[in-house]
């Protein structure tokens, strides 16, 4: 039986739904030693800003039960180095390239989006969990009006289709999802990390220098699946689901909940081969269940 794992996101065809979660895979160079990037549906890069960002002081990470917490602070080498060094590396592979964009102000995002318009990149993923310095540091993704506004500004300038990456640290994910749709987003990705804190009781200090950090990994999966399901019910846009995917079964949950694509993040740290195993497992599942096209499964939970 011929298995078709291909999916289309905003007009871009991916050979399978499996991608890497931004921030966990760099721009592919380090993991390419372990993973054949040609097999992935897409590589989603680390967030890129208009200038190099140094990120936060260390400690930047802490392990939590069934996952971890990070406050890397979006350290990145800036768009110039990214375009000159990291993009050419990824372009050697037969995989889609999704560039994640971060910024401190709407102008910052727009500058990067315009620059990327000149590059051979398939999709843009906009990280709106960044704090907006002009609004006192509150994340762009935290309120629906801000989400709609930044989406619309970016859409005016973007050449490639735009994926808005939603923050789960909101009261109602469907509000921000609908706001991104209203702003013109071509797709949504969720969830980003959930804000958490860890205290070292022996040293009586915060585990992270930043005090709080984003929680990721298997422990957050139920929240992520719920949010993907709610979002799929609320908007018509394709969704890339993520949050604790460590196996093909986890990935299948997101697809059944309504996701067209799935991203693997934290699990890469535990097993660099996770993405490949997810692809293989999903294919096996389809074969066993006599399903020839993965698209039949999207949102088919009852």
């Amino acid at each position: 039986m011929n298995i078709d794992m291909s999916v289309k996101i905003a007009g871009v065809e991916l050979k399978n739904p499996v991608m890497t979660a931004s921030g966990t895979f760099g721009s592919g160079m380090e993991y390419s030693e372990f993973v054949d990037l040609n097999r992935l549906g897409a590589v989603v890069t680390k967030g890129v800003a208009n200038v190099p960002w140094p990120g936060n002081p260390t400690p930047r990470i802490a392990e939590t039960c069934g996952g971890m917490m990070n406050a890397i602070g979006l350290q990145n080498p800036g768009i110039d180095t990214f375009a000159a060094r990291d993009l050419p590396f990824l372009q050697k592979y037969d995989t889609r390239i999704i560039v994640n964009v971060c910024g401190k102000s709407t102008e910052d995002y727009c500058e990067v989006v315009e620059r990327l318009g000149e590059e051979k990149v398939d999709l843009l993923e906009i990280n709106i969990s960044c704090p907006n310095v002009k609004e006192g540091g509150i994340a762009f993704g935290q309120n629906p009006k801000a989400v709609e506004a930044i989406t619309s500004e970016i859409k005016k300038r973007a050449r490639q289709p735009v994926i808005m990456k939603l923050s789960p640290n909101v009261t109602d994910i469907t509000e921000t999802a609908r706001a991104a749709e209203a702003g013109g987003a071509d797709a949504l990705s969720l969830i980003n990390t959930l804000t958490g804190m860890k205290i070292d009781v022996n040293r009586r200090t915060f585990a992270l220098a930043n005090k709080t950090g984003g929680v990721s990994g298997p422990a957050i999966k139920p929240i992520a699946v719920r949010m993907v399901y709610q979002t799929a019910q609320a908007v018509k846009l394709p969704i890339i689901g993520m949050g604790g995917i460590a196996s093909w079964e986890d990935a299948m949950e997101f697809i059944l909940a309504g996701a067209t694509g799935v991203s693997v993040g934290t699990a890469n740290f535990h097993n660099p081969m996770t993405t490949i195993q997810v692809i293989q497992g999903m294919e096996e599942y389809m074969r066993k269940n006599h399903i020839s096209d993965i698209k039949e499964l999207i949102g088919s939970v009852r």
Binding site: T24, Y31, F34, T58, I72
Partner: protein, 259 residues
């Protein structure tokens, strides 16, 4: 870029060699042969609630037999779990990781200090086997000694203990001064206050000093940017004043990094 391997290895022997300090000999396929002094391995937990690998320095690596030794301290849940394993059990590891100590900075005519503080001592063992020249291991402990016999095979060993129960009462610098020791190059691993003091000492003496740093890690291979240290100059890879301890390090020239 050196080769890295993910292997499921068999435990040859586990022994407790001090209070909370364990020695583990592993049978590797390619990791031991590829390992250089100063490199480390990522050790994975078998408990599904612990996702992150624990980075542990390589103490000894036998290329021909494939045997690899790590000596570690039980510091938390992961290392606690490892200390319960026995001969015949298997373990998942990734390595060798990091850059290792630069052996080419030494030759027959030079003197080196191999300075270890507490659980920073294990990487000095493999270094002592491969470094040329006149070697003096200066090792500092709280009270109990370990690995002095192994170090003694290739170095003069000078000991310092905080409680004065053996060697110099005090720390490694006290030991150096008390014994009027001198060297052309320093290779060091241990707690940050010790590394800071050695950086200053090396500057005073005008000698070259290589420090092995540590930082909390997630991926261990340079992708996630968790384990950075501050660099004096803008780093060519990051374009900011940060270097990756797992990739550009863990060994850095003391003048390159801010502690």
């Amino acid at each position: 870029m050196s080769e890295k391997y993910r292997e499921t290895v068999k435990i040859i022997e586990q022994k407790q060699i001090g209070t909370g300090i364990f020695s583990l000999w592993l049978q590797t396929d390619q990791i031991a042969a590829a390992a250089k002094p100063g490199q480390f391995i990522s050790v994975y937990s078998q408990d599904k609630s612990r996702m992150l690998p624990r980075p542990i320095s390589i103490c000894e690596a036998e290329g021909k037999s494939g045997r690899l030794r790590i000596v570690y301290r039980v510091a938390g849940a992961g290392t606690e779990e490892f200390s319960g394993y026995q001969a015949g059990d298997t373990l998942d590891i990734l390595g060798p990781l990091g850059n290792g100590f630069p052996l080419e900075r030494m030759d027959e005519g030079k003197k080196a200090f191999l300075i270890g503080g507490g659980i920073g001592i294990p990487p000095m063992v493999q270094l002592s086997k491969e470094l040329s020249g006149e070697l003096t291991a200066v090792v500092g402990y709280r009270d109990e000694l370990f690995l002095t016999e192994e170090l003694g095979k290739n170095c003069r060993v000078c000991v310092a203990t905080e409680d004065g129960s053996a060697g110099t009462k005090g720390n490694v610098l006290d030991c150096i001064r008390e014994n009027d020791l001198h060297a052309d190059v320093i290779y060091a691993c241990g707690p940050t206050p010790m590394l800071r003091a050695l950086k200053a000492y090396a500057q005073e003496q005008g000698i070259e000093c290589w420090l092995s740093l540590e930082e909390k890690m997630a991926c261990g291979i340079g992708a996630c940017l968790a384990c950075v240290c501050k660099s004096k100059e803008v780093d060519d890879h990051s374009k900011v004043h940060n270097k990756r301890v797992c990739k550009e390090g863990p060994v850095f020239l003391s003048t390159e990094v801010e502690l």
